[in-house]
Each structure stands twice: as structure tokens, then as C-alpha cells.
């Protein structure tokens, strides 16, 4: 028993006796400043994020939004962000090689939003395929861009929706799953991106739904969790991606082992949530698994207080959350740690999120009453 307790302490599951004396509170202002700083400049050790700047933008803007502080992004910064986002859009060429207007949006390439300007084209140049043939959009950056635009109140009128939907067809593989770019492999993360993009643009013609559903159903592991691919270990992040995809497609009932999934989710929580059995708790899973449970109508089976206590311990003195207590912060764990707190409903300053889209109900729009649970994607418990 002593050994187990020591292990749990090391993994951050349990507070050390010294820590337990400190009353934890949500240090909102520190996290607001953390994200505002990211918007202005990321330090050089973020070079590995160079292809994903659009995603960091999403984490930062949505993080501010969930904290009720999107207003800290003033009109000037908002305009700057929207301009930059649209400069990342890659659309089909306006004219064909022959000079005629491109009515069919050929050629059949991957259009949508890029993660950054690293590809080399000129600012605002939506198509430079003739100069940079390797340039293409990235499905997760398209999702991030659309989310950011919604958060900033843009009406998406400058988005080439048809080109994006058509590109989904290009990215879906024989097995039903999706790639992020044409040169990389398919997996469950991009299945989610494809589904949420289709829902955001209200156009499902780019997805072969039966094939997609079959892939997800086959990916459920024997313990009830869902993995990155068929045969892979059940994992918190991919379980979210799979369940959210099914919910968006209205096909949750196709899952073969709902009881197993319920048990897997419940068991993922000690105090904090783990991503896989027998691994240490990690702040981001309070969102991945918490929101999975929200969508399945079983969130009431969680221990909100234990969850909150763990998340708050993952806050750092500099602002931001780390994956465990006493670990350096990063934008991903900060954002999902805050989203996890929002779902618990214990911090009134945090705005409710739509678990399917990963943005606030406010950003999603079209909701009169933010308290309206029915619109948040919660399913009636059976």
C-alpha cells in the first residue's frame, strides 16, 4: 500500500503532504496572459510547432473564449488574426491553364487552410501551385482555422467551402479513415477533423459515412476504449475523436460495446483522468474523456471534485497548465485543462463548450440561451 501511494505521489496523482495544505484556486488572469503572450510571440523552442501555428492560434483564442475573456483580443488584434487566417487559405486557381475562368475548381488537390506560411508563397496568395507544387492544406489546420474564425465572429463568407468539402473526398481512404495531408497516414484524429468540418460547413457530401462508421466501430478495443487505428490500444484522445465523429454523424448507436466504453471512461478517472489504463493522470484527458462522457450522457458518473482538484494542481506559477503537477506548461494542456474545468460547471466564470465542435456555445452561435444543455450535444441518458 505504501509503495502504491509513493508511486501515485510521484505520478502527481496524490498531493504531497506539503502541497495538500495549499488551497487551490483557478488562476484565471495568469492563463489569460499566457495565451495573450502566445498570440504575440512564441519562444524559439516552439520551432517544432512551425507547421501547426494555426492550431496554437485555435488553442489560444478558444482558451481565452472559454475563460470569458475573448474581449481581451481588441479590434486591432482581431483584424490581424482574421487577415492572417485568411492568408493561410489555399483555394483552387481562379483561372485554368488556358486562361478561362476555373468553373470546376480543378485541379483536384487538397484545399483548405495551411498551418503556417512556411511553404513559401506570398502573403495572401491563395494559390501558387505552379510555384510551390508541394503546398497543400492540412485537415487539422482547416478545422483550427474555421474554429478561430467562428470565435472571432467572422461569417466565413470568404471561405471556399465547396473546395474544402471536395478535398475531404481526396483525403478519405479505402478503409474509411482520413489523412491530414496527402503524403501522410490516416488515423482517428483526422476522422474527427473531417466530421467536424462537415458539420461546421453543413455539408456531408465529402464523406462516405458508412465506410467512416465501419472504421470507427472496428477500432473499438476489447476493453471498450477506442484506439488510433484498428487493433491499437484504447486511448483517451482517440476515443474522443471516434465518439465525437459518431455523434456528429448521428451514428453512436452503431458502437458494439457501449457498456464497455462507459466502464472504460469511468475507470479512466482516479482523481485526474488517464489516457490509458495504468498510466499517470494527465490534465488534457479531463477534456478528452470528460467531453466523451458528456456526449454519451454519462458525465454524471464522474467525480467532479477530484477532477477539479487534479486539474488545478496542474497550473504553473507562470500561467498555463502542464500535463502533470510541477511540469512546464504548454498551450495544449492549458487549453484542455481549462475546458475540463468548464465542463465541471464549478467555476462560474468559464463559458460552456460544445463538446462536438471544441469551441464555446457562444462562438458556435445561434444559441439564445447559453444554459441550454440540449444544444451542447448532451445526449439524453438512456
Amino acid at each position: 500500500e505504501m509503495e502504491k501511494k509513493k508511486e501515485a505521489e510521484q505520478a502527481g496523482e496524490e498531493s504531497s503532504p506539503k502541497e495538500a495544505k495549499v488551497e487551490r484556486k483557478f488562476e484565471k488572469e495568469k492563463h489569460v496572459r499566457y495565451f495573450l503572450y502566445m498570440l504575440k510571440m512564441m519562444p524559439h523552442d516552439y520551432e517544432s510547432m512551425d507547421m501547426k501555428r494555426m492550431m496554437i492560434l485555435y488553442l489560444s483564442l478558444s482558451g481565452l473564449d472559454v475563460m470569458g475573456e475573448i474581449k481581451r483580443v481588441d479590434e486591432k488584434l482581431k483584424k490581424r488574426a482574421i487577415n492572417w487566417i485568411y492568408s493561410m487559405q489555399k483555394t483552387p486557381p481562379k483561372f485554368t491553364a488556358g486562361g478561362a475562368e476555373n468553373k470546376n475548381s480543378q485541379p483536384n488537390k487538397h484545399y483548405g487552410f495551411r498551418g503556417s506560411s512556411s511553404f513559401g508563397g506570398k502573403y495572401g496568395e491563395c494559390n501558387c501551385e505552379d510555384i510551390f507544387p508541394n503546398d497543400e492544406a492540412h485537415i487539422a489546420m482547416t478545422y483550427s482555422a474555421l474554429s478561430c474564425l467562428k470565435i472571432l465572429g467572422d461569417d466565413l463568407s470568404k471561405v471556399d467551402k465547396k473546395a474544402i468539402i471536395r478535398s475531404l473526398k481526396l483525403l478519405q481512404r479505402e478503409n474509411g479513415c482520413f489523412r491530414c495531408v496527402t503524403s501522410e497516414e490516416d488515423d482517428m484524429r483526422f476522422m474527427y477533423c473531417a466530421c467536424v468540418i462537415s458539420d461546421m460547413l453543413d455539408d456531408w457530401t465529402g464523406i462516405d459515412i458508412p465506410k467512416a462508421v465501419e472504421y470507427i466501430v472496428e477500432s473499438q478495443a476489447f476493453d471498450g476504449g477506442i484506439g488510433l487505428r484498428i487493433g491499437a490500444e484504447g486511448h483517451g484522445g482517440t476515443t474522443y475523436c471516434a465518439v465525437a465523429s459518431l455523434v456528429l454523424m448521428n451514428k453512436v448507436h452503431e458502437l458494439k460495446d457501449m457498456e464497455g466504453l462507459t466502464r472504460w471512461c469511468v475507470y479512466a478517472q482516479g482523481k485526474g483522468f488517464v489516457g490509458r489504463p495504468n498510466k499517470p493522470a494527465d490534465s488534457c484527458y479531463s477534456f478528452w474523456i470528460g467531453s466523451t462522457m458528456k456526449m454519451l450522457g454519462i458525465y454524471h458518473l464522474t467525480d467532479i471534485n477530484g477532477n477539479r482538484e487534479f486539474n488545478l494542481r496542474c497550473q504553473t506559477p507562470w500561467g498555463g497548465f502542464g500535463k502533470h503537477p510541477n511540469v512546464h506548461p504548454d498551450p495544449l494542456h492549458t487549453y484542455f485543462g481549462i475546458c475540463g474545468l468548464s465542463m465541471m460547471g464549478l467555476d462560474s466564470e468559464l463559458l460552456p463548450i460544445d463538446p462536438r465542435w471544441g469551441i464555446t456555445l457562444r462562438a458556435k452561435g445561434g444559441v439564445e440561451n447559453e444554459q441550454n444543455e440540449a444544444k451542447s450535444g448532451e445526449v439524453e441518458a438512456k
Binding site: 510547432m49 492572417w84 510551390f132 508541394n134 488510433l228 491499437a232 490509458r276
Partner: protein
């Protein structure tokens, strides 16, 4: 193939003297900019120039190596590298050594493992893929990427012969390694299948593991995987095993949890009555943190119990 040697900064090197570097154009007021180091900017400026030219050359190949080193998540770097390797007809075995080198630093990188799979596919032989993943897993036994790669190797080349032994070795090191339990299921499913003799063997193996650490969730989940096989009928064997565990540790929450699941899956009035009591014990004493779940489970147990009791009354 030839190999080019890069000197930095590339802007001052003779090798790239003819090329016009292409700067990133982030617009007048970028957002979420990165404070790039000079070296990063230098390398990427020349990579963009190479991309613009679609130049598959020795210097381009060398450049992709640096691009990958400064940002292993740069999928365009990996893609262009593959195109250079193809064009220059490079030695793909040597390329695997390069992947090994990058893997030392970035073993949790999606692009790297995808690249490895493309290279191995082109080589067309299993080579030392099992050895490479074994080595990686001995260092980092739960690395999700390595397990995914190993599953791909097994599926693609059908080299399952020693896999159960490998899983067993990892479980001997750490009986709680959930990835290894998942792999066990994967191997049995893709080789013998869950036939009766295999089920007998697996049930015995799993209870042996449970005896070593009764509150370990992974083997209990593995048992749940076994009982969900088509036409599973070895209820007595599986219940006996659980009863043995219960006798030696009446407070083993995982054991009770499993017996409740057995009662729900193979219901009988006596099993359900016992299960209801177990749910109560779990809820109030043995697993209080999940008390709402045990309330939920008990609800299902009682509902099913009522149904069976009503049916029994009707047949009287």
C-alpha cells in the same frame, strides 16, 4: 549515392551559392509568430528555394536531413526527402539508419514512423523491424507509436511466431503494461483466434497474472475481452478463477467489478442477487470514488433480476 556536406550558414556556403533563398512571407502583422533562431531561418529559406525548384539532388537530400533535425514534424521535409531518395536511387537500408538516429531524439513523432513504413514497404522485406521495435520498447515499453509500428510489421509480414513470447517478456518486466495486454489480444486474434483450447490457455494465463497484482485493471479487461468472444460458454472456468481471487482478497474491487459484469452478461437469479450485494459493497466501501457508477451498475442488475424473477413466476 553521393552525399553532400552542408556548412552553415547556408547563405555563406559555396554549395548553395547559386540559389536565391526564399523568405517566409507572414504578412505585415503576423499572429502567433515564432522567435526563430538564425539557423532555423537559414535552413528553411534554402529549403523553400529547393521546393520552388523541385530540385531532387544530393544537396537537397542533405538539406532535408537538416530540415528534419530542426523540426521533425515538418511533413513537407519528410515528403521531399522521399522524393530525393527515389530520384537518386539511394540505399534504403542506410535510410533506416537515419530514421534510427532521429528516433533517438523524437520517438513520439508521427511523420517519422510513417516515413519508416514507406521505406520498409519499398524495401519489401521485414529486415530488422522486429529487432528495432523490440529495442525501442525495452527502453520505452508503452510508446504508442512503436506499438502501432510493430502491429503494422506483424500484419504486413505475418511474422507472429515469437510475438506471444515477446509480450510475455514485457509483462514479466511490468505486469501492468496495458499496451502489452492489448498486443496479446492482437496476436491471438490474428493467429489462432479464440478457440476453446486457446481460451482455456488465456484464462489460465490471465488469472496467473492477476494473482501477482489483483488490483491491476489490464488483465481484468483482458478477461472481459475473452468473455466477449462469439459463443463463449466457459462461464464456470472464468467464475472459478474470480472466486479464487475473491477468497484470497475479499476487498479486491476489480474482482467484484468483474463478477458484476459476468452476472450482467450471463444472468441468473443467483448471480444477479450476489452482484447486487457486490455493487452495494463497492459503492459504500471498496470503491467509493466510483460510487455513482456502482449505483448505475446496480440499477441494471436489479432491473435484470426483476425481469428474471417475473419470468420465473410466470412459468410456475
Amino acid at each position: 549515392g553521393m552525399s553532400a556536406v552542408l556548412t552553415f550558414p547556408l547563405a555563406k556556403s559555396e554549395l548553395f551559392g547559386d540559389l536565391e533563398p526564399v523568405e517566409q512571407d507572414d504578412g505585415p502583422e503576423p499572429i502567433v509568430p515564432i522567435a526563430y533562431s538564425d539557423h532555423f531561418v537559414d535552413v528553411m529559406n534554402y529549403f523553400r528555394a529547393i521546393l520552388k525548384k523541385s530540385e531532387y539532388s544530393a544537396r537537397a537530400l542533405a538539406l532535408t536531413e537538416e530540415v528534419i533535425k530542426i523540426n521533425p514534424a515538418n511533413y513537407t521535409g519528410w515528403l521531399f526527402r522521399r522524393e530525393c531518395l527515389k530520384e537518386l536511387k539511394e540505399d534504403l537500408q542506410k535510410e533506416l539508419e537515419f530514421v534510427d538516429e532521429i528516433s533517438e531524439v523524437s520517438s513520439k513523432n508521427y511523420q517519422l514512423w510513417h516515413h519508416r513504413r514507406v521505406i520498409v514497404t519499398h524495401i519489401g522485406k521485414v529486415g530488422s523491424e522486429l529487432e528495432a521495435t523490440t529495442k525501442a520498447l525495452l527502453k520505452d515499453p508503452k510508446n504508442y507509436h512503436v506499438w502501432a509500428h510493430r502491429q503494422w510489421v506483424l500484419r504486413t509480414f505475418g511474422v507472429y511466431e515469437n510475438e506471444l513470447k515477446f509480450v510475455d517478456a514485457l509483462l514479466k518486466k511490468d505486469i501492468r503494461n496495458n499496451s502489452a495486454w492489448n498486443q496479446r489480444y492482437f496476436v491471438v486474434k490474428n493467429t489462432s483466434g479464440f478457440t476453446k483450447p486457446v481460451l482455456q490457455r488465456e484464462i489460465a494465463y490471465t488469472y496467473e497474472a492477476i494473482r501477482k497484482a489483483p488490483n491491476n485493471l489490464s488483465p481484468w479487461n483482458y478477461l472481459r475481452g475473452l468473455i466477449s468472444q462469439k459463443d463463449f460458454d466457459m462461464i464456470d472456468a472464468i467464475t472459478k478463477g474470480a472466486a479464487d481471487v475473491f477468497r484470497s482478497d475479499r476487498k479486491c474491487a476489480e474482482c467484484l467489478s468483474f463478477l458484476v459484469d459476468i452476472a450482467l452478461k450471463f444472468p441468473s437469479i443467483s448471480r444477479l442477487k450476489t452482484a447486487s450485494k457486490m455493487c452495494h459493497d463497492l459503492q459504500t466501501d471498496l470503491c467509493k470514488i466510483r460510487h455513482k457508477y456502482w449505483e448505475y451498475q446496480n440499477g441494471k442488475v436489479k432491473e435484470m433480476l426483476k425481469k428474471l424473477e417475473d419470468e420465473a413466476k410466470q412459468t410456475k
